[in-house]
Symmetry: C2
């Protein structure tokens, strides 16, 4: 065999890399949150062709320092307020390391029984943690986008009755419904699943930015009258822009009446449900057919780990399953073969990192952290409401605060331009990272609180930075 890294070198480099990661985490607060490189800058550092000869392993950490670090936006930084948190705690990192070291592929039970059975256990633990009944069966997927695509395909097949001609059967077209504030993945899934973008109905929202059940009912009736077939509703628990909550109970009245599939996108808000006082926000959840929540958001588990729950796993298996000769094993029928519960065939041992996080932290600590973030969001909203020239522009249901600077001497579009300039200024300075977004066509500043290490002091510093930026730009 040719010489590649041996066990001794792996031990040395592995220890050094572990130390490097610890050092990075301990000093992260001194680094700019958002990478400050220009397009092409990282690419230009690497050769245009691969190395013909190896031996470069000894330089890996030097390469990380020189070629990678300038191009990293630090999602684990305590002043990361952009998008949604996607943190990885130390325990989660060890889970990923164990996953890589074991190097198994858990497509079938037999190809590593522990990968299947530990996933069954921890996904059931998670179900209990968020207060779902045992009518739900879970499986890990990569992301909520993929889970929502899978849900809409399951919905499609239930409506079609697994028609051999699929969507090309020539009867009334199937239609999907979601609020105007639903995540872009719903639009994408509708297109990818073949419904066609003309068969997605965007339902109006109310003053709290929740889907209006009356508007949904009207849209369904209109489609029925036109000979179309209402197929599925995607309700959101915690929309991306403002963490609004669609009224699941009212929506379920309609989906049940019309035999439609109800999928709930709780990608972000799912973690909040470890705190019992949040559970009224998804009242009616037990009436849904499927839901997705992301432990890789806000729960401290490293990306990627989405949990998809459904009430009829046999239907999921019929949609996703295949049974070629080369995949049959002696245990089929007695076990779960998770290859038949998802779009890909192969699967990593993702359950390890969720398991490690729970062993390290326990549920009580996660609950404490969620409550800390909810309180920080309320504190920030209170500060901003009390300040002249600033507005909180959407209800603060969870940990996301949508704000807007509204100086008395400006009107649109100058106010929007000023808010976008504030966002670019703060992100460009590197002290914090937030997301500029739009609400009703107007520029807002979207502040998502929930990184593992974000304490009140960091939220207060952001509020100071916002006021300073408003005075500067």
């Amino acid at each position: 065999m040719v010489a590649v890294m041996d066990a001794e070198q792996f031990r040395q480099l592995g220890h050094a890399l572990v130390d490097w990661i610890a050092e990075l985490r301990e000093t992260m607060e001194t680094l700019p949150v958002m990478s400050q490189v220009r397009p092409g800058e990282i690419r230009a550092r690497l050769p245009v062709s691969p190395p013909e000869h190896g031996g470069g392993a000894g330089d890996l950490i030097a390469r990380l320092e020189a070629d990678v670090m300038p191009g990293i936006t630090h999602w684990n930084h305590p002043s990361f307020f952009a998008y949604f948190p996607s943190n990885s705690s130390y325990a989660s990192i060890l889970g990923d390391l164990a996953c890589a070291g074991l190097g198994v592929q858990g497509m079938s039970w037999q190809t590593s029984p522990a990968a299947t059975e530990i996933e069954e256990v921890v996904v059931d633990w998670l179900r209990q943690m968020v207060g779902l009944s045992d009518a739900w069966t879970g499986v890990i997927q990569d992301t909520a986008s993929t889970a929502t695509l899978g849900a809409l395909i399951c919905a499609r097949e239930r409506t079609l009755g697994f028609a051999p001609k699929g969507l090309q059967q020539g009867d009334g077209a199937l239609v999907v419904y979601a609020s105007s504030d639903a995540h872009s993945s719903v639009d994408k899934a509708t297109r990818l699943a073949g419904f066609g973008r003309a068969h997605l109905r965007t339902i109006a929202t109310d003053a709290r930015r929740a889907l209006r059940v009356d508007a949904l009912a009207a849209a369904i009736e209109h489609d029925l009258a036109a000979g179309l077939r209402p197929c599925a509703v995607v309700a959101t628990s915690g929309t991306t822009n403002t963490t609004a909550f669609d009224p699941i109970d009212g929506i379920a009245d309609l989906t049940e009446r019309h035999g439609m599939w109800l999928h709930v996108d709780a990608a972000m808000a799912g973690t909040a449900m470890v705190v019992p006082e949040c559970r009224t926000l998804w009242h009616g959840i037990e009436r849904a057919d499927s839901l997705v929540l992301n432990p890789h958001k806000w729960m401290g588990v490293g990306f990627d780990l989405s949990a998809y729950y459904c009430r009829d796993p046999q239907h999921l298996i019929r949609v996703m399953g295949t049974n070629p000769a080369f995949l049959r094993t002696a245990q089929d029928g007695q076990v779960s073969n998770f290859r038949d519960w998802q779009i890909p065939l192969g699967r990593r041992f993702r359950a390890l990192k969720l398991w490690f996080v729970l062993l390290d932290e326990g549920v009580a600590a996660i609950r404490t952290r969620v409550r800390r973030d909810l309180e920080n969001a309320q504190w920030l909203a209170g500060e901003i409401k009390a300040a002249p020239d600033w507005q909180v522009v959407a209800p603060v249901a969870l940990q996301t605060v949508c704000v807007r600077h509204v100086p008395v001497d400006l009107v649109e579009p100058a106010i929007s331009a000023k808010n976008l300039a504030i966002a670019h200024h703060i992100n460009g300075m590197g002290h914090a990272y937030l997301t500029p977004s739009l609400l009703d066509g107007r520029q807002i500043l979207r502040i998502s609180i929930g990184a593992e290490r974000t304490e009140r002091v960091h939220v207060a510093a952001l509020w100071g930075a916002l006021r300073a930026a408003a005075a500067t730009v």
Copy 2:
């Protein structure tokens, strides 16, 4: 904040886990390849509810030993001959560790420019390594199944011209074609993408188990005459069962004539193309619209890392792209936002592990390893052909050898039963792991050579075990 693992504990546990992985790899040969646990055995070891309180991190390695290891099937074992190899070299493990430690989410260029740009570089290196022209643009996906689904959706949208009604537009139905030996993921993708299983044509194969171009031409003409719309052909370079190669050039004559999409599934065989003498096997590849190859098979990169290449990335972006306000960044238009090149929104920094493997090994070493495996397969095939009562039942184009024990005193179905018993005996003993499969309805033994540490001695030992099992069962 509540107490969770701190940097010091992470260092200690991280070092210990690195050492544990090195020890596992060094002693793996003494372990059973296939896990010997019974269904439910691992699950029963874990509590039915999650820990309310944490502090269990100190036991992580003890938990791995007690609760996980008995349920592991060792894909990195030198006597792993099942499915296809999915190895992770030491360098790849370090890549995954760095990925977890950096903990970034690379959905957009801005959310970590290095994740995007290093991926652009290494995927282009890989393109050069397998001899593809620079007309191809690559992107990392999780698996070949997902990449093939994406390809068929791209094909569908090209044929439909992005019709607003999607597949529900009411014109002639779109049809997909693949050989009877194509991977189950083609059937699955056809169903998931909404074509309907009745619109997949399974084309007959020739004596070498390659798709018959004349049969494909006839099927296309038949569908055209019936008013249907031939949409896509999936050609396979290295089928799962026997590593047969479909004639891409002949297929491309038809897809070009009829304006169809040609997707090539080279999941396994792609790695072989680092060896120039293998490239005649996918002659015509430059005429395809898309292809997928898996560095997580045979190249030593840990699962999951599939490389999807296409000739028209703008079409891919139109199919997969979304542009909600909360995802817009200042660099849009100047950079690649890989969220728009794939089904999920979020993405890990997968490129790190491919980069690390190439820095450690270099292309020359990978070439040497591939040639070693090709030679081992030819050696085994030669031994088996020379043995009475044994047959090699398919051409050995690469590293997969399909064999069958055919004792003179038995007839079907007893021969099939005996071969299945041989497989279960060997897998159950734990000394080696191979895949029982079917060829033309008859049981065969499928031996896939290509684990990183599989040398001639392991292949010879398997051959001894096969003969011993045949004499025993």
